[in-house]
């Protein structure tokens, strides 16, 4: 027997020109669209499943964005309000003391007279108030915390002010913000967890659907392999199937979300109204929808790649 010869490469990889490459992609994409539309009922089921899998985490994301928006609307930073005893005379001193603190950003003083004027303006009971012998409203100071100040700083400041002379009440304005922030964190984490779980679900749905498509086209794959199709050429139609399943799922998710938003718009407006806030559902914009389609397409392609890798590599020809 001759010594084994070292293999040369007399059949080198022939690079297709860009035009041929684009032409092939257009042809494959068109064929994939026809394939899916010819099996519309099955395709709709896949789109619905992928759409539901995308809609839930995407909805939580929107909720989290809206909650973050609410806290920003609130003016962004917590603070304390100090209410003084009637007739207290150290208001200016306390205000100056607060202005000197690094954790305090701004200080607004409302004198008894200003409080009364404001009350008269908003309450519409100016005639009744005129009958009172003395102004019953206390003077107050509102101190807004600096951007870098923590909740601990806020609580320490409130404690200190409570001990001050002439201060009858200290209201810490953090609870509402903190709750919203806490809910926002929970929603974000829930969104991430559900996103991961439902993302895996979307990939599995696409993998199964693409595998079925592969099974229905095994004969074509065998012939293509035999006539010299590269692995990329054999994968290509199924990658398009996956992408179309994913993008279709993204469209369904966007539709489901818009329906959900329409459904919750009124009750949510009422709820926020009770907190004296306007409804502003942030995030559901064209960029978000493009992201949704992109993520759907990406998950679909991932599912298709898994299916193709499992099935095409083990393809027996005859």
């Amino acid at each position: 027997m001759k010594e084994p010869r070292k293999a040369r490469d007399p059949w080198p990889r022939k690079r297709q020109g860009p035009l041929a490459w684009i032409r092939d992609h257009i042809r494959v994409a068109t064929e994939a669209s026809h394939f899916l539309s010819a099996r519309l009922a099955a395709s709709l089921v896949v789109w619905l499943l992928v759409g539901i899998a995308l809609a839930l985490p995407a909805g939580l994301f929107l909720l989290q964005v809206s909650l973050s928006g609410l806290t920003q609307v609130w003016d962004g930073r917590p603070g304390v309000s100090l209410y003084f005893d009637l007739g207290a005379e150290n208001i200016t001193t306390v205000a100056d003391e607060l202005r000197g603190l690094s954790e305090v950003d701004s200080v607004t003083v409302v004198t008894q007279e200003q409080a009364l004027e404001e009350f008269q303006r908003h309450s519409g009971v100016s005639d009744a108030l005129a009958l009172l012998e003395a102004n019953p409203l206390p003077a107050s100071i509102r101190a807004t915390m600096s951007p870098g100040a923590s909740l601990e700083d806020l609580e320490a400041l409130a404690l200190r002010m409570r001990a001050g002379a002439g201060v009858s009440e200290v209201v810490v304005e953090k609870t509402w913000l903190q709750r919203v922030n806490d809910i926002s964190v929970v929603v974000r984490r829930l969104g991430l967890i559900l996103g991961a779980l439902f993302g895996i679900g979307a990939v599995l749905v696409t993998t199964t659907s693409v595998r079925l498509a592969i099974e229905s086209r095994l004969e074509e794959l065998r012939v293509l392999k035999l006539v010299g199709a590269t692995a990329g050429q054999m994968r290509r139609p199924f990658i398009y199937f996956g992408a179309l399943y994913g993008i279709g799922g993204g469209i369904v998710a966007a539709m489901l979300l818009s329906l959900a938003l329409i459904a919750i718009e009124t009750p949510l407006a009422d709820l926020l109204g009770s907190y004296d806030r306007d409804l502003e559902l942030a995030g559901f914009d064209p960029i978000f929808i493009l992201w949704l389609l992109g993520i759907g397409g990406g998950l679909g392609v991932t599912g298709a790649l898994i299916a193709v890798r499992q099935r095409v590599s083990t393809l027996e020809i005859f």
Binding site: A7, W11, K14, L224, V227, G228
Partner: protein, 222 residues
């Protein structure tokens, strides 16, 4: 181009069955050879190894002096683009027209649509089916389907044409027609290897006959 050499090629399946045992043979470029033998003699395994659809457990296969058993997996498609293959059951795609079926080997090479059309029609013309290009396989007779299979095998102008029982389902008259087609392609320089157990037909062709039995060459008559 198209010279093939088998050097002590063996193929043992995982079951322990020896499909081929120490096969050594050479096929000149432009030659035509019939592989014959009983069912399970090793004919299909011989063709599969040549197409690199399977790897031998021993020996080497040279095509144009290159050991094709060592070609990397990523390069195999470009090797197979130089081969044409015809099967007994055609392997035509029922949902594609005759034109689309025949164009498959050209499509994978990235040829322009205009050139694909020209070459597909030339191949269909060579097998006498030019007027059926818009038909679907199930609208054709068995003999016509086999001609389409041959057109698909030769449309990319392969150096080597392999056929596995190409006349297995055909009556003697159609079988002779199909063999004459192979002969025509051989006459323009294509190396042709046909696996067939139809001894009467093979004998009529007057070409080299290699008989296999239990994975070994028991007769090689030119």
């Amino acid at each position: 181009m198209g010279r093939i050499e088998f050097h002590q090629v063996s193929k043992r399946f995982l079951s322990g069955l020896d499909a081929l045992q120490d096969i050594s043979a050479s096929f000149d470029a432009g030659s035509m050879t019939f592989l014959t033998g009983h069912s399970g003699a090793g004919k299909t395994t011989f063709l599969k190894l040549l197409l690199c659809l399977d790897r031998p457990t021993g020996g080497q296969i040279l095509v144009n002096d290159v050991n094709v058993t060592q070609i990397r997996e990523s390069r195999l498609p470009f090797y197979r683009q130089q081969m044409g293959v015809v099967f007994q059951d055609h392997h035509l795609l029922s949902h594609r027209t005759i034109f689309e079926n025949v164009s498959l080997p050209l499509r994978v090479t990235g040829l322009r649509p205009r050139d694909i059309g020209r070459r597909v029609r030339a191949a269909l013309s060579a097998v006498g089916l030019l007027k059926r290009e818009r038909f679907y396989p199930n609208q054709l007779s068995t003999g016509e389907q086999q001609r389409v299979g041959i057109a698909r095998a030769v449309v990319a102008r392969p150096r080597i044409l392999l056929a596995d029982e190409p006349t297995g389902n055909l009556d003697p008259e159609l079988s002779a027609d199909i063999m004459n087609l192979f002969l025509q392609f051989n006459q323009v320089g294509t190396t042709v290897i046909i696996a067939s157990h139809d001894r009467a037909l093979i004998d009529q062709m007057g070409k080299r006959i290699m008989e296999l039995s239990h994975g070994q060459i028991i007769k090689d008559v030119s």
